[in-house]
């Protein structure tokens, strides 16, 4: 999701809920984002909004993109292995 454009925490949760049926506390996304930030996968910055409520936007870094593409490869490799076992 972040590889398409920068997003803020609540927006990410709304997107995740669209594609999954997991019902977890929304707050749990923040430790995950913090971990990704600590690892240098994402970066964040505060942006002023017209509503007056600033939002913290997350963006994927070059390290994050590299990892994402590597994980996609590994995932596809895993799927193809499972399918060949069938």
């Amino acid at each position: 999701m972040l590889s398409k454009r920068n997003r803020y925490g609540y927006e990410l949760i709304v997107e995740i809920k669209k594609y999954t049926e997991y019902d977890v506390a929304e707050g749990t996304i923040y430790p995950l984002l913090n971990r990704l930030k600590t690892c240098g996968m994402v970066d964040s910055n505060w942006e002023e909004m017209e509503s007056g409520m600033p939002r913290k936007y997350y963006k994927i870094t070059s390290v994050g993109k590299k990892n994402l593409s590597e994980m996609k490869k590994q995932w596809l490799y895993l799927i193809s292995n499972i399918q060949s076992i069938k």
Partner: protein
């Protein structure tokens, strides 16, 4: 800050933020502000999207979906604390931070038990250095007849002690050096960007 029209909603919001404050009390002010602002923005967005005419009900729904602060802030604070503690080189802060992170996910638990073990080794080295001062005839750097050697307590009266009182300053220096090295490693592990790259 959210401008509530409903007094009850404002009280509920303040009480929730109070719980958040308790969880983040150990963090530096700039990090506290960051977490406070992000949670407030989240509540604001959640209330706006679900747009309930009753502000108190809208807030209650938003808080219920967000979860209890102690559940989601604990891991967030625990991870930030390790980095802060490693930066300060303060043994007490390091000990507390490591303890808080054990049980915070399988990877973290293994990682921090490993670092806990390394710090325990440093503790043993320093303790041996102190014991040498009080029990100089039993603690030392011994060499056995067969050529094997060890540092610590010896029952073997035939074993030859080689360092004498020099053992204490040597072990103290070694312990302190190791402490700084392990803490630097911990700091790198918590902040390392390159270290976690996949190939």
């Amino acid at each position: 800050m959210i401008n509530f029209k409903n007094e009850k909603a404002k009280q509920v919001f303040d009480a929730y933020l109070q719980q958040v404050e308790q969880q983040i009390a150990s963090l530096p002010e700039n990090e506290k502000k960051d977490i406070r602002m992000e949670i407030t923005a989240h509540i604001y967005d959640s209330m706006r999207i679900h747009d309930n005419p009753d502000e108190a009900v809208a807030l209650q729904n938003a808080l219920q979906k967000l979860g209890k602060p102690e559940e989601y802030i604990k891991p967030l604070v625990a991870e930030r604390q390790v980095y802060q503690a490693a930066k300060s080189f303060n043994p007490r802060r390091l000990f507390i931070a490591l303890l808080k992170n054990i049980g915070n996910g399988i990877f973290n638990t293994i990682k921090y038990i490993f670092f806990g073990f390394l710090y325990f080794l440093v503790f043993i080295i320093i303790l041996t250095a102190i014991c040498k001062i009080f029990y100089p005839h039993y603690i030392g750097f011994y060499i056995e007849d067969n050529g094997s050697f060890y540092v610590g307590y010896s029952y073997n009266i035939m074993a030859k002690e080689k360092l004498g009182y020099w053992l204490s300053p040597i072990l103290f220096t070694l312990g302190i050096l190791l402490y700084f090295l392990i803490t630097l490693l911990l700091k790198l592990f918590t902040k390392a960007k390159k270290a976690l790259r996949l190939k």
